[in-house]
Protein backbone atom coordinates (compact mmCIF):
# COMPACT_ATOMS: atom_id res chain seq x y z
CA UNK A 1 0.00 0.00 0.00
CA UNK A 2 1.28 3.43 -0.98
CA UNK A 3 1.19 6.09 1.67
CA UNK A 4 1.01 9.66 0.47
CA UNK A 5 4.11 11.65 1.53
CA UNK A 6 2.12 14.10 3.64
CA UNK A 7 0.37 11.31 5.44
CA UNK A 8 3.60 9.45 5.98
CA UNK A 9 5.13 12.53 7.56
CA UNK A 10 2.19 12.85 9.89
CA UNK A 11 2.38 9.17 10.77
CA UNK A 12 6.07 9.40 11.44
CA UNK A 13 5.85 12.43 13.69
CA UNK A 14 4.60 10.98 16.98
CA UNK A 15 6.79 7.89 17.21
CA UNK A 16 9.93 8.61 15.21
CA UNK A 17 11.71 9.85 18.34
CA UNK A 18 13.78 7.32 20.27
CA UNK A 19 11.94 6.16 23.38
CA UNK A 20 12.56 8.18 26.52
CA UNK A 21 13.97 6.45 29.57
CA UNK A 22 11.59 7.37 32.37
CA UNK A 23 10.26 5.53 35.41
CA UNK A 24 7.07 4.87 33.53
CA UNK A 25 8.64 3.42 30.39
CA UNK A 26 11.07 1.30 32.42
CA UNK A 27 8.52 -0.04 34.90
CA UNK A 28 8.02 -3.40 33.09
CA UNK A 29 11.78 -4.01 33.04
CA UNK A 30 12.13 -3.14 36.71
CA UNK A 31 9.17 -5.32 37.69
CA UNK A 32 10.60 -8.26 35.75
CA UNK A 33 14.00 -7.84 37.41
CA UNK A 34 12.34 -7.55 40.82
CA UNK A 35 10.37 -10.73 40.18
CA UNK A 36 13.55 -12.54 39.17
CA UNK A 37 15.28 -11.38 42.35
CA UNK A 38 12.33 -12.54 44.46
CA UNK A 39 12.47 -15.98 42.83
CA UNK A 40 16.19 -16.20 43.57
CA UNK A 41 15.44 -15.27 47.18
CA UNK A 42 12.69 -17.86 47.48
CA UNK A 43 14.98 -20.51 46.04
CA UNK A 44 17.74 -19.53 48.48
CA UNK A 45 15.38 -19.69 51.46
CA UNK A 46 14.21 -23.18 50.44
CA UNK A 47 17.66 -24.54 49.75
CA UNK A 48 19.96 -25.88 52.44
CA UNK A 49 21.07 -28.92 54.39
CA UNK A 50 17.47 -29.37 55.45
CA UNK A 51 15.59 -29.34 52.17
CA UNK A 52 12.24 -27.58 52.37
CA UNK A 53 10.07 -27.42 49.23
CA UNK A 54 9.41 -23.87 47.96
CA UNK A 55 5.66 -24.36 48.54
CA UNK A 56 6.19 -25.13 52.20
CA UNK A 57 8.59 -22.19 52.40
CA UNK A 58 6.01 -19.86 50.91
CA UNK A 59 3.36 -21.21 53.25
CA UNK A 60 5.60 -20.68 56.28
CA UNK A 61 6.52 -17.16 55.16
CA UNK A 62 2.88 -16.30 54.52
CA UNK A 63 2.00 -17.62 57.98
CA UNK A 64 4.25 -14.98 59.50
CA UNK A 65 2.36 -12.18 57.82
CA UNK A 66 -0.31 -10.58 59.95
CA UNK A 67 -3.90 -11.80 59.54
CA UNK A 68 -2.90 -14.83 57.48
CA UNK A 69 -3.18 -18.31 58.82
CA UNK A 70 -1.69 -21.15 56.81
CA UNK A 71 -2.08 -23.92 59.33
CA UNK A 72 0.54 -25.62 61.45
CA UNK A 73 4.05 -26.33 60.26
CA UNK A 74 6.78 -28.37 61.85
CA UNK A 75 8.47 -26.18 64.45
CA UNK A 76 11.95 -27.00 63.13
CA UNK A 77 11.06 -26.11 59.54
CA UNK A 78 9.51 -22.89 60.78
CA UNK A 79 12.59 -22.01 62.84
CA UNK A 80 14.96 -22.80 59.98
CA UNK A 81 13.02 -20.71 57.52
CA UNK A 82 12.01 -17.81 59.72
CA UNK A 83 14.88 -17.53 62.22
CA UNK A 84 17.85 -18.67 60.18
CA UNK A 85 17.46 -18.55 56.43
CA UNK A 86 15.05 -15.67 56.03
CA UNK A 87 17.15 -13.03 57.82
CA UNK A 88 20.23 -14.41 56.14
CA UNK A 89 18.82 -14.18 52.63
CA UNK A 90 17.23 -10.82 53.36
CA UNK A 91 20.47 -9.38 54.71
CA UNK A 92 22.51 -10.78 51.80
CA UNK A 93 20.02 -9.23 49.38
CA UNK A 94 20.04 -5.87 51.12
CA UNK A 95 23.83 -5.75 51.36
CA UNK A 96 24.17 -6.80 47.71
CA UNK A 97 21.67 -4.16 46.64
CA UNK A 98 23.37 -1.48 48.74
CA UNK A 99 26.88 -2.27 47.48
CA UNK A 100 25.92 -2.53 43.80
CA UNK A 101 23.72 0.55 43.91
CA UNK A 102 26.36 2.57 45.75
CA UNK A 103 29.01 1.33 43.33
CA UNK A 104 26.94 2.50 40.36
CA UNK A 105 26.39 5.87 42.04
CA UNK A 106 30.12 6.24 42.80
CA UNK A 107 30.99 5.38 39.20
CA UNK A 108 28.48 7.99 38.12
CA UNK A 109 29.74 10.94 40.12
CA UNK A 110 33.42 10.06 39.70
CA UNK A 111 32.99 9.29 36.00
CA UNK A 112 35.46 6.52 36.65
CA UNK A 113 34.82 2.89 35.73
CA UNK A 114 37.08 1.68 38.55
CA UNK A 115 35.14 3.52 41.24
CA UNK A 116 33.51 1.23 43.79
CA UNK A 117 31.84 1.79 47.14
CA UNK A 118 35.05 1.21 49.13
CA UNK A 119 36.91 3.89 47.17
CA UNK A 120 36.80 6.53 49.89
CA UNK A 121 38.07 4.26 52.65
CA UNK A 122 34.79 2.78 53.93
CA UNK A 123 36.21 -0.75 54.06
CA UNK A 124 39.52 0.17 55.66
CA UNK A 125 37.83 2.49 58.15
CA UNK A 126 35.27 -0.14 59.09
CA UNK A 127 38.07 -2.69 59.56
CA UNK A 128 39.94 -0.36 61.90
CA UNK A 129 36.76 0.28 63.90
CA UNK A 130 35.89 -3.40 64.10
CA UNK A 131 39.44 -4.43 64.95
CA UNK A 132 39.73 -1.86 67.74
CA UNK A 133 36.46 -3.14 69.19
CA UNK A 134 37.46 -6.79 68.90
CA UNK A 135 40.76 -6.25 70.75
CA UNK A 136 39.14 -4.05 73.39
CA UNK A 137 37.86 -5.47 76.72
CA UNK A 138 34.31 -4.54 75.64
CA UNK A 139 34.35 -7.35 73.10
CA UNK A 140 34.56 -10.06 75.79
CA UNK A 141 31.66 -8.86 77.85
CA UNK A 142 29.48 -8.34 74.81
CA UNK A 143 26.41 -10.54 74.88
CA UNK A 144 23.89 -10.92 72.14
CA UNK A 145 24.16 -7.34 70.91
CA UNK A 146 27.61 -7.17 69.43
CA UNK A 147 29.41 -3.83 69.78
CA UNK A 148 31.38 -4.54 66.60
CA UNK A 149 28.91 -3.19 64.00
CA UNK A 150 28.60 0.27 65.60
CA UNK A 151 32.40 0.48 65.89
CA UNK A 152 32.79 -0.55 62.25
CA UNK A 153 30.14 1.96 61.20
CA UNK A 154 31.89 4.76 63.08
CA UNK A 155 35.26 3.79 61.62
CA UNK A 156 33.85 3.78 58.10
CA UNK A 157 32.31 7.23 58.47
CA UNK A 158 35.48 8.67 60.00
CA UNK A 159 37.50 7.33 57.05
CA UNK A 160 35.15 8.86 54.47
CA UNK A 161 35.11 12.17 56.32
CA UNK A 162 38.90 12.08 56.41
CA UNK A 163 39.18 11.40 52.66
CA UNK A 164 36.72 14.14 51.91
CA UNK A 165 38.41 16.62 54.23
CA UNK A 166 41.84 15.89 52.74
CA UNK A 167 40.59 16.31 49.18
CA UNK A 168 38.68 19.50 49.83
CA UNK A 169 40.21 22.52 48.19
CA UNK A 170 38.35 25.76 48.76
CA UNK A 171 34.73 25.31 47.78
CA UNK A 172 35.15 22.28 45.57
CA UNK A 173 36.27 18.68 45.90
CA UNK A 174 37.96 17.52 42.69
CA UNK A 175 37.18 13.89 41.85
CA UNK A 176 40.84 13.02 41.24
CA UNK A 177 41.93 14.39 44.64
CA UNK A 178 39.11 12.51 46.32
CA UNK A 179 40.17 9.21 44.75
CA UNK A 180 43.79 9.74 45.78
CA UNK A 181 42.78 10.75 49.31
CA UNK A 182 40.64 7.61 49.51
CA UNK A 183 43.57 5.45 48.44
CA UNK A 184 45.82 7.07 51.06
CA UNK A 185 43.26 6.73 53.87
CA UNK A 186 42.63 3.10 52.88
CA UNK A 187 46.34 2.33 53.02
CA UNK A 188 46.64 3.83 56.48
CA UNK A 189 43.63 1.82 57.66
CA UNK A 190 44.98 -1.41 56.23
CA UNK A 191 48.35 -0.79 57.84
CA UNK A 192 46.76 -0.17 61.24
CA UNK A 193 44.66 -3.34 60.99
CA UNK A 194 47.65 -5.45 59.95
CA UNK A 195 49.67 -4.13 62.86
CA UNK A 196 46.89 -4.73 65.36
CA UNK A 197 46.22 -8.21 64.02
CA UNK A 198 49.84 -9.20 64.52
CA UNK A 199 50.15 -7.50 67.91
CA UNK A 200 46.97 -9.01 69.36
CA UNK A 201 47.47 -12.41 67.81
CA UNK A 202 45.06 -14.12 70.21
CA UNK A 203 42.26 -12.25 68.41
CA UNK A 204 43.60 -12.58 64.87
CA UNK A 205 41.02 -15.18 63.91
CA UNK A 206 38.08 -13.06 65.08
CA UNK A 207 39.43 -10.03 63.25
CA UNK A 208 40.02 -12.02 60.08
CA UNK A 209 36.57 -13.55 60.33
CA UNK A 210 34.98 -10.17 60.57
CA UNK A 211 36.98 -8.70 57.70
CA UNK A 212 36.25 -11.62 55.38
CA UNK A 213 32.60 -11.01 56.03
CA UNK A 214 29.58 -13.17 55.56
CA UNK A 215 26.02 -13.78 56.59
CA UNK A 216 26.27 -16.87 58.83
CA UNK A 217 25.36 -14.86 61.91
CA UNK A 218 22.69 -12.75 60.19
CA UNK A 219 19.73 -11.76 62.34
CA UNK A 220 16.58 -9.77 61.84
CA UNK A 221 18.25 -7.05 63.87
CA UNK A 222 21.07 -6.74 61.33
CA UNK A 223 18.54 -6.36 58.55
CA UNK A 224 16.63 -3.76 60.56
CA UNK A 225 19.85 -1.81 61.19
CA UNK A 226 20.69 -1.65 57.50
CA UNK A 227 17.19 -0.97 56.19
CA UNK A 228 16.90 2.76 56.90
CA UNK A 229 20.32 3.58 55.44
CA UNK A 230 19.75 1.48 52.33
CA UNK A 231 16.29 2.97 51.84
CA UNK A 232 17.58 6.50 52.37
CA UNK A 233 20.35 6.04 49.77
CA UNK A 234 17.94 4.53 47.27
CA UNK A 235 15.28 7.19 47.78
CA UNK A 236 17.83 10.01 47.77
CA UNK A 237 19.99 9.00 44.84
CA UNK A 238 17.58 7.35 42.38
CA UNK A 239 15.76 10.65 41.62
CA UNK A 240 19.14 12.18 40.72
CA UNK A 241 19.73 9.60 37.97
CA UNK A 242 18.89 12.03 35.15
CA UNK A 243 21.32 14.59 36.59
CA UNK A 244 24.00 11.91 37.00
CA UNK A 245 23.56 11.19 33.27
CA UNK A 246 24.27 14.84 32.52
CA UNK A 247 27.35 14.69 34.75
CA UNK A 248 28.77 12.02 32.43
CA UNK A 249 29.51 14.83 29.95
CA UNK A 250 32.10 16.47 32.18
CA UNK A 251 31.84 18.73 35.18
CA UNK A 252 32.09 22.02 33.27
CA UNK A 253 29.54 20.89 30.70
CA UNK A 254 27.15 19.82 33.45
CA UNK A 255 27.58 23.23 35.06
CA UNK A 256 26.78 24.89 31.75
CA UNK A 257 23.54 22.94 31.74
CA UNK A 258 22.66 24.40 35.11
CA UNK A 259 23.60 21.42 37.27
CA UNK A 260 24.95 22.19 40.73
CA UNK A 261 27.73 19.64 40.36
CA UNK A 262 29.25 19.99 43.83
CA UNK A 263 25.90 19.67 45.58
CA UNK A 264 24.96 16.54 43.62
CA UNK A 265 28.39 15.03 44.24
CA UNK A 266 28.24 15.66 47.98
CA UNK A 267 24.67 14.36 48.27
CA UNK A 268 25.38 11.17 46.32
CA UNK A 269 28.67 10.45 48.07
CA UNK A 270 27.21 11.10 51.51
CA UNK A 271 24.15 8.90 51.00
CA UNK A 272 26.05 6.09 49.26
CA UNK A 273 28.85 6.13 51.84
CA UNK A 274 26.39 6.07 54.72
CA UNK A 275 24.59 3.06 53.24
CA UNK A 276 27.85 1.28 52.42
CA UNK A 277 29.15 1.89 55.92
CA UNK A 278 25.97 0.38 57.35
CA UNK A 279 26.21 -2.61 54.99
CA UNK A 280 29.86 -3.24 55.85
CA UNK A 281 29.21 -2.94 59.57
CA UNK A 282 26.69 -5.82 59.53
CA UNK A 283 28.34 -8.03 56.91
CA UNK A 284 32.07 -7.39 56.85
CA UNK A 285 33.94 -6.48 53.72
CA UNK A 286 32.55 -8.15 50.64
CA UNK A 287 34.45 -7.11 47.58
CA UNK A 288 33.64 -7.09 43.90
CA UNK A 289 29.85 -6.70 44.10
CA UNK A 290 29.97 -2.93 43.97
CA UNK A 291 32.36 -2.99 41.03
CA UNK A 292 31.13 -5.68 38.70
CA UNK A 293 27.36 -5.64 39.09
CA UNK A 294 26.99 -2.06 37.77
CA UNK A 295 29.33 -2.88 34.90
CA UNK A 296 27.43 -6.04 34.01
CA UNK A 297 24.17 -4.05 34.00
CA UNK A 298 25.80 -1.34 31.90
CA UNK A 299 26.97 -3.86 29.33
CA UNK A 300 23.53 -5.36 29.01
CA UNK A 301 21.29 -2.29 29.29
CA UNK A 302 23.49 0.68 28.43
CA UNK A 303 24.85 3.60 30.44
CA UNK A 304 21.63 5.42 31.35
CA UNK A 305 21.61 5.80 35.14
CA UNK A 306 17.83 5.74 35.24
CA UNK A 307 18.10 2.07 34.33
CA UNK A 308 21.51 1.45 35.80
CA UNK A 309 20.79 2.43 39.41
CA UNK A 310 17.58 0.41 40.00
CA UNK A 311 18.82 -2.61 38.06
CA UNK A 312 22.15 -2.58 39.90
CA UNK A 313 20.28 -2.70 43.20
CA UNK A 314 18.10 -5.62 42.08
CA UNK A 315 20.85 -7.66 40.44
CA UNK A 316 23.27 -6.85 43.26
CA UNK A 317 20.75 -8.39 45.64
CA UNK A 318 20.27 -11.49 43.48
CA UNK A 319 24.01 -11.86 42.96
CA UNK A 320 24.91 -11.74 46.64
CA UNK A 321 22.02 -14.06 47.62
CA UNK A 322 23.33 -16.61 45.14
CA UNK A 323 26.93 -16.10 46.25
CA UNK A 324 25.88 -16.66 49.86
CA UNK A 325 23.94 -19.77 48.85
CA UNK A 326 27.07 -21.16 47.22
CA UNK A 327 29.18 -20.15 50.22
CA UNK A 328 26.99 -22.11 52.62
CA UNK A 329 26.25 -25.16 50.47
CA UNK A 330 29.57 -25.85 48.73
CA UNK A 331 30.96 -27.58 51.79
CA UNK A 332 28.33 -28.17 54.49
CA UNK A 333 29.75 -27.71 57.93
CA UNK A 334 32.38 -25.22 56.88
CA UNK A 335 31.40 -22.00 55.19
CA UNK A 336 33.56 -20.59 52.46
CA UNK A 337 34.05 -16.83 53.00
CA UNK A 338 31.59 -15.09 50.71
CA UNK A 339 34.24 -12.70 49.38
CA UNK A 340 36.00 -15.72 47.91
CA UNK A 341 32.81 -16.69 46.11
CA UNK A 342 32.05 -13.20 44.80
CA UNK A 343 35.55 -13.03 43.33
CA UNK A 344 35.70 -16.61 42.04
CA UNK A 345 32.22 -16.60 40.51
CA UNK A 346 31.97 -12.92 39.73
CA UNK A 347 35.26 -12.40 37.95
CA UNK A 348 34.91 -15.10 35.27
CA UNK A 349 31.30 -14.08 34.65
CA UNK A 350 32.41 -10.51 34.30
CA UNK A 351 35.27 -11.41 31.97
CA UNK A 352 32.90 -13.43 29.79
CA UNK A 353 30.61 -10.40 29.50
CA UNK A 354 33.55 -8.18 28.72
CA UNK A 355 34.75 -10.47 25.94
CA UNK A 356 31.29 -10.86 24.46
CA UNK A 357 30.89 -7.10 24.36
CA UNK A 358 34.35 -6.70 22.84
CA UNK A 359 33.48 -9.20 20.11
CA UNK A 360 30.26 -7.39 19.25
CA UNK A 361 31.86 -4.01 18.86
CA UNK A 362 33.38 -2.96 15.59
CA UNK A 363 36.96 -1.77 15.84
CA UNK A 364 37.14 1.98 16.38
Amino acid sequence: MQIAPARRARLAAPDDAPPLVTWRTQAPLFLLAALGTLLVALFAVSWGTVDIPPRTTLSILAGHLPFISTGEHAATADAIIWQVRMPRVLLAGMVGATLAFSGAAYQGVFRNPLAEPYLLGVAAGASVGATLMIISPLFVVAGMFSPVPPAAFAGALIAVALSYGLARNGGSVPAASLILAGVAVSSIGTAVVTYLMLTYNERTLEILNWILGGFNTATWTDAAILLPYAALALAGIAPLARIINVMQLDEDEARHLGVNVEAVKVAVLALASLATAAAVSVSGIIGFVGLIVPHAVRMAWGPDYRRLLPLSALFGAAFLILADLIARSINPGYEVPIGVITALVGAPFFLALLRRQGAGRRPA
Binding site: A17, P18, L20, T22, W23, R24, P239, L240, R242, I243, N245, V246, Q248, L249, D250, D252, E253, R255, H256, L257, G258, V259, N260, R298, G302, P303, D304, A364
Partner: protein
Protein backbone atom coordinates in the same frame (compact mmCIF):
# COMPACT_ATOMS: atom_id res chain seq x y z
CA UNK B 1 21.86 41.08 25.28
CA UNK B 2 25.35 40.53 26.67
CA UNK B 3 27.39 43.31 28.15
CA UNK B 4 30.80 43.16 29.78
CA UNK B 5 32.02 46.16 31.73
CA UNK B 6 35.67 46.37 32.77
CA UNK B 7 35.75 42.63 33.47
CA UNK B 8 38.88 41.26 35.10
CA UNK B 9 39.64 37.64 35.89
CA UNK B 10 42.60 35.68 37.20
CA UNK B 11 43.75 32.14 37.79
CA UNK B 12 45.37 32.46 41.18
CA UNK B 13 47.95 35.23 40.89
CA UNK B 14 47.97 35.13 37.08
CA UNK B 15 45.78 37.91 35.71
CA UNK B 16 44.21 36.76 32.46
CA UNK B 17 41.56 39.40 31.77
CA UNK B 18 42.62 42.98 32.48
CA UNK B 19 39.49 44.99 31.84
CA UNK B 20 37.28 43.77 29.02
CA UNK B 21 34.48 45.90 27.63
CA UNK B 22 32.32 44.14 25.09
CA UNK B 23 28.71 44.09 23.92
CA UNK B 24 26.87 41.49 21.91
CA UNK B 25 23.40 42.43 20.71
CA UNK B 26 20.56 40.02 19.98
CA UNK B 27 20.88 38.52 16.51
CA UNK B 28 24.56 39.36 16.32
CA UNK B 29 27.41 36.94 15.61
CA UNK B 30 30.63 38.20 17.17
CA UNK B 31 33.94 36.48 16.53
CA UNK B 32 36.51 36.54 19.31
CA UNK B 33 40.07 36.28 18.03
CA UNK B 34 43.55 36.77 19.36
CA UNK B 35 46.80 34.93 20.06
CA UNK B 36 46.82 31.73 22.12
CA UNK B 37 46.67 32.49 25.81
CA UNK B 38 45.26 35.99 25.33
CA UNK B 39 42.18 35.19 27.42
CA UNK B 40 39.52 34.30 24.85
CA UNK B 41 38.53 31.02 26.47
CA UNK B 42 38.66 32.56 29.93
CA UNK B 43 36.34 35.27 28.67
CA UNK B 44 33.83 32.62 27.57
CA UNK B 45 34.19 30.85 30.92
CA UNK B 46 33.50 34.07 32.79
CA UNK B 47 30.40 34.79 30.70
CA UNK B 48 29.10 31.23 31.15
CA UNK B 49 29.59 31.47 34.89
CA UNK B 50 32.20 28.69 34.97
CA UNK B 51 34.87 31.09 36.24
CA UNK B 52 34.21 34.06 38.52
CA UNK B 53 35.09 37.57 37.41
CA UNK B 54 37.46 39.22 39.87
CA UNK B 55 36.14 42.65 38.97
CA UNK B 56 33.65 44.28 36.64
CA UNK B 57 30.14 43.31 35.58
CA UNK B 58 28.85 40.66 33.23
CA UNK B 59 25.26 41.50 32.35
CA UNK B 60 22.86 39.25 30.46
CA UNK B 61 19.69 41.09 29.51
CA UNK B 62 20.76 43.75 31.97
CA UNK B 63 21.05 41.34 34.89
CA UNK B 64 24.40 40.45 36.48
CA UNK B 65 25.08 36.76 35.86
CA UNK B 66 26.08 35.98 39.43
CA UNK B 67 22.59 37.00 40.50
CA UNK B 68 20.87 34.68 38.04
CA UNK B 69 21.89 31.33 39.56
CA UNK B 70 23.29 28.50 37.47
CA UNK B 71 20.00 27.01 36.36
CA UNK B 72 18.45 30.27 35.20
CA UNK B 73 21.72 31.17 33.51
CA UNK B 74 21.64 27.87 31.62
CA UNK B 75 18.17 28.72 30.35
CA UNK B 76 19.65 31.77 28.65
CA UNK B 77 23.24 30.87 27.84
CA UNK B 78 24.32 27.70 26.04
CA UNK B 79 27.94 26.70 25.65
CA UNK B 80 29.50 24.63 22.89
CA UNK B 81 32.88 23.84 24.41
CA UNK B 82 35.94 22.83 22.49
CA UNK B 83 36.68 19.11 22.31
CA UNK B 84 34.12 18.38 25.02
CA UNK B 85 34.12 14.65 25.76
CA UNK B 86 30.85 12.85 25.07
CA UNK B 87 29.91 9.88 27.25
CA UNK B 88 30.24 6.44 25.69
CA UNK B 89 27.07 4.56 24.95
CA UNK B 90 24.63 7.47 25.02
CA UNK B 91 22.81 8.14 21.76
CA UNK B 92 22.93 11.45 19.94
CA UNK B 93 19.30 11.92 20.96
CA UNK B 94 20.16 11.32 24.64
CA UNK B 95 22.92 13.92 24.48
CA UNK B 96 20.76 16.49 22.68
CA UNK B 97 18.01 15.83 25.25
CA UNK B 98 20.47 16.77 28.02
CA UNK B 99 20.04 20.33 26.72
CA UNK B 100 16.62 20.30 28.35
CA UNK B 101 18.21 19.95 31.82
CA UNK B 102 17.89 23.61 32.87
CA UNK B 103 14.18 23.56 31.99
CA UNK B 104 13.37 20.44 34.01
CA UNK B 105 12.72 20.30 37.73
CA UNK B 106 14.83 17.95 39.82
CA UNK B 107 12.23 15.21 39.92
CA UNK B 108 10.72 15.93 36.53
CA UNK B 109 11.07 13.62 33.54
CA UNK B 110 11.25 14.73 29.93
CA UNK B 111 7.92 14.92 28.16
CA UNK B 112 6.41 15.36 24.72
CA UNK B 113 7.23 19.07 24.59
CA UNK B 114 10.89 18.31 25.27
CA UNK B 115 10.90 15.73 22.49
CA UNK B 116 9.44 18.31 20.11
CA UNK B 117 12.08 20.89 21.04
CA UNK B 118 14.92 18.40 20.71
CA UNK B 119 13.58 17.14 17.40
CA UNK B 120 13.38 20.70 16.07
CA UNK B 121 16.92 21.43 17.28
CA UNK B 122 18.28 18.25 15.70
CA UNK B 123 16.44 18.81 12.43
CA UNK B 124 17.87 22.29 12.31
CA UNK B 125 21.42 21.11 12.78
CA UNK B 126 20.79 18.19 10.42
CA UNK B 127 21.57 15.70 13.17
CA UNK B 128 18.11 14.13 13.45
CA UNK B 129 19.21 11.22 11.27
CA UNK B 130 21.96 10.53 13.80
CA UNK B 131 19.54 10.32 16.70
CA UNK B 132 19.87 6.60 17.39
CA UNK B 133 23.65 6.49 16.89
CA UNK B 134 25.95 6.19 19.92
CA UNK B 135 27.88 9.45 20.21
CA UNK B 136 31.20 7.62 20.47
CA UNK B 137 30.75 6.48 16.86
CA UNK B 138 30.16 9.94 15.40
CA UNK B 139 32.65 11.86 13.25
CA UNK B 140 33.93 15.28 14.30
CA UNK B 141 31.42 17.16 12.15
CA UNK B 142 28.54 15.01 13.37
CA UNK B 143 29.54 15.50 17.01
CA UNK B 144 29.62 19.24 16.51
CA UNK B 145 26.12 19.21 15.01
CA UNK B 146 24.82 17.18 17.96
CA UNK B 147 26.49 19.57 20.42
CA UNK B 148 24.93 22.58 18.72
CA UNK B 149 21.58 20.77 18.75
CA UNK B 150 22.01 20.25 22.50
CA UNK B 151 22.77 23.96 22.89
CA UNK B 152 19.65 24.87 20.88
CA UNK B 153 17.55 22.51 23.01
CA UNK B 154 18.38 24.82 25.92
CA UNK B 155 16.45 27.51 24.02
CA UNK B 156 19.19 30.02 24.79
CA UNK B 157 19.32 33.72 24.03
CA UNK B 158 23.10 33.65 23.91
CA UNK B 159 25.32 31.00 22.38
CA UNK B 160 28.97 30.74 23.41
CA UNK B 161 31.23 28.68 21.16
CA UNK B 162 34.88 27.86 21.75
CA UNK B 163 36.56 27.23 18.41
CA UNK B 164 33.49 25.54 16.95
CA UNK B 165 35.28 24.64 13.70
CA UNK B 166 38.79 23.82 14.86
CA UNK B 167 38.60 20.08 14.07
CA UNK B 168 36.43 20.36 11.00
CA UNK B 169 37.20 20.25 7.30
CA UNK B 170 36.44 23.23 5.08
CA UNK B 171 32.93 22.11 4.14
CA UNK B 172 31.96 21.50 7.77
CA UNK B 173 33.49 24.82 8.82
CA UNK B 174 31.38 26.71 6.32
CA UNK B 175 28.39 24.61 7.26
CA UNK B 176 28.73 25.39 10.95
CA UNK B 177 29.06 29.11 10.38
CA UNK B 178 26.14 29.19 7.96
CA UNK B 179 24.05 27.52 10.65
CA UNK B 180 25.19 30.05 13.26
CA UNK B 181 24.40 32.92 10.91
CA UNK B 182 20.97 31.53 10.31
CA UNK B 183 20.29 31.06 14.05
CA UNK B 184 21.27 34.64 14.71
CA UNK B 185 19.22 36.03 11.84
CA UNK B 186 16.11 33.89 12.20
CA UNK B 187 15.89 33.41 15.98
CA UNK B 188 17.58 36.55 17.21
CA UNK B 189 20.12 34.48 19.13
CA UNK B 190 23.29 36.32 20.06
CA UNK B 191 26.45 34.32 19.41
CA UNK B 192 29.97 34.84 20.70
CA UNK B 193 32.46 32.47 19.09
CA UNK B 194 36.18 32.05 19.54
CA UNK B 195 37.55 31.79 16.00
CA UNK B 196 41.18 31.35 15.03
CA UNK B 197 40.72 31.64 11.30
CA UNK B 198 40.48 35.38 10.69
CA UNK B 199 39.23 34.97 7.12
CA UNK B 200 36.45 32.70 8.32
CA UNK B 201 35.64 35.26 11.02
CA UNK B 202 35.57 38.05 8.44
CA UNK B 203 33.30 36.06 6.15
CA UNK B 204 30.62 35.17 8.67
CA UNK B 205 30.80 37.42 11.73
CA UNK B 206 28.99 40.72 12.13
CA UNK B 207 31.83 41.92 14.30
CA UNK B 208 35.31 40.81 15.21
CA UNK B 209 36.79 41.49 18.63
CA UNK B 210 40.54 41.08 18.80
CA UNK B 211 41.80 40.25 22.26
CA UNK B 212 45.43 40.78 23.20
CA UNK B 213 46.97 40.48 26.64
CA UNK B 214 43.62 40.37 28.41
CA UNK B 215 42.25 43.49 26.77
CA UNK B 216 40.14 44.26 23.72
CA UNK B 217 42.68 45.47 21.17
CA UNK B 218 40.15 46.17 18.45
CA UNK B 219 36.42 45.68 18.08
CA UNK B 220 34.21 46.41 15.11
CA UNK B 221 33.14 45.34 11.65
CA UNK B 222 35.55 42.80 10.07
CA UNK B 223 36.73 45.30 7.47
CA UNK B 224 37.69 47.92 10.06
CA UNK B 225 39.30 45.54 12.57
CA UNK B 226 41.14 43.20 10.25
CA UNK B 227 43.80 45.57 8.92
CA UNK B 228 47.33 44.37 8.38
CA UNK B 229 48.88 46.74 10.93
CA UNK B 230 46.33 45.81 13.63
CA UNK B 231 46.80 42.07 13.09
CA UNK B 232 50.58 42.45 13.06
CA UNK B 233 50.46 44.39 16.29
CA UNK B 234 48.24 41.80 17.99
CA UNK B 235 49.80 38.59 16.66
CA UNK B 236 53.32 39.82 16.03
CA UNK B 237 53.49 38.20 12.63
CA UNK B 238 53.59 39.82 9.17
CA UNK B 239 50.36 39.45 7.21
CA UNK B 240 48.73 40.72 4.09
CA UNK B 241 45.07 41.54 4.00
CA UNK B 242 43.44 41.14 0.62
CA UNK B 243 39.94 42.10 -0.34
CA UNK B 244 37.56 39.43 -1.59
CA UNK B 245 37.05 40.22 -5.28
CA UNK B 246 33.27 40.05 -5.00
CA UNK B 247 32.28 40.86 -1.41
CA UNK B 248 35.24 43.07 -0.52
CA UNK B 249 35.54 41.26 2.85
CA UNK B 250 39.08 40.93 4.19
CA UNK B 251 41.13 37.81 3.48
CA UNK B 252 44.05 37.41 5.85
CA UNK B 253 47.15 35.56 4.67
CA UNK B 254 50.59 35.31 6.31
CA UNK B 255 53.15 37.35 4.47
CA UNK B 256 55.80 34.65 4.27
CA UNK B 257 58.13 36.63 1.96
CA UNK B 258 58.39 39.53 4.39
CA UNK B 259 58.78 37.22 7.36
CA UNK B 260 61.83 35.62 5.76
CA UNK B 261 63.52 38.95 5.12
CA UNK B 262 62.94 40.71 8.45
CA UNK B 263 61.35 38.10 10.72
CA UNK B 264 63.73 39.05 13.53
CA UNK B 265 62.31 42.55 13.69
CA UNK B 266 58.81 41.15 13.97
CA UNK B 267 59.78 38.78 16.76
CA UNK B 268 60.72 41.93 18.69
CA UNK B 269 57.33 43.50 18.08
CA UNK B 270 55.61 40.31 19.26
CA UNK B 271 56.98 40.88 22.76
CA UNK B 272 53.67 42.36 23.90
CA UNK B 273 51.74 39.12 23.53
CA UNK B 274 52.04 36.68 26.44
Amino acid sequence: MLELRAVEAAYGARRVLRGIDLRVRAGELVALAGPNGCGKTTLLRVVSGAHPAARGDVLVDGEPIQRAGSRRLAQRIAVVAQGAPLPDGFSAFDVAMMGRTPHLGLLQSEGGRDIDIVRAAMLRTRSWDLRARPVDELSGGERQRVLIARALAQEPRLLLLDEPTSHLDLAHQVDTFRLLRELCAADGIAALAVVHDLTLAATFADRVALIADGRVAADGAPATVLRAETIERVYGVPVRVLAHPRTGLPIVVPDAARERSDGAAFAGVAGGAP
